[in-house]
Amino acid sequence: DVKVTQSSRYLVKRTGEKVFLECVQDMDHENMFWYRQDPGLGLRLIYFSYDVKMKEKGDIPEGYSVSREKKERFSLILESASTNQTSMYLCASSPGYHTQYFGPGTRLTVL
C-alpha cells in the first residue's frame, strides 16, 4: 500500500514564526502536492512538485514556499505564519497524472 506520512497531526504556532510541514511518501512517486482544506472551500492547491528540486505554484501560493531536496520528501514552509494560515494542510503524492494518495493531514493553528 502507498503510504504518505506527515510530520504532525496537530500544530500550534504563533504569528510571525517560521513553520515547516513535512511530508514523506514511500512509493517513489514523481509528483507531490500540498493543499489546504477549509470548510466550504474544499481543497485548494498551494504548490506541487514533479521532480526533485522542481516546483510549480498552485492556486494559492502566497505566503508559502516549498522544498524538495529528495524524491520522497516535500516540505511546505510558512516563512512568517499569520492567523489566516490557520487551516488543515494535506499532502499528496502520485506516480503520474492519475490518482493522488493523501496523507493524514496537519491541523495548523496560528495564534
Partner: protein
Amino acid sequence: AQTVTQSQPEMSVQEAETVTLSCTYDTSENNYYLFWYKQPPSRQMILVIRQEAYKQQNATENRFSVNFQKAAKSFSLKISDSQLGDTAMYFCAFMKQRSGIIQGAQKLVFGQGTRLTINP
C-alpha cells in the same frame, strides 16, 4: 479555468438506503478525468472511484457507481446499501488529461465537498 461544484453541503440518510451525491463541472477540455474522494472523520482522504471522460461506460466499484453525463458536465456518485462506515466528507475532483510528453504533474481541482452522514 476549470471549476467543480457540489451543491449539497450536507446529506443524511438511513443505513441501507441508497444515496446520490451530485457534482457538476465546467471545462472546455475534451479529455479529462473525474474522481470521487472520501474523507472519513479520521481525515485520511482516499479514492472512491475514477472515470475517464473518453469512456462512455459509467465506472463502478462495489456499492459505489457514478452517473457520468459528459454533455451535461455532470458526475454524480451513487452509494447503494449505505453503511455506517460511509459517513464522511465526499469530494468531487477534476483533472485535465495532459497530452504528449510534457514534464510535470497534473492538478486536481476539487469541489467544496458534501458531508454525508449515515444514520443507524
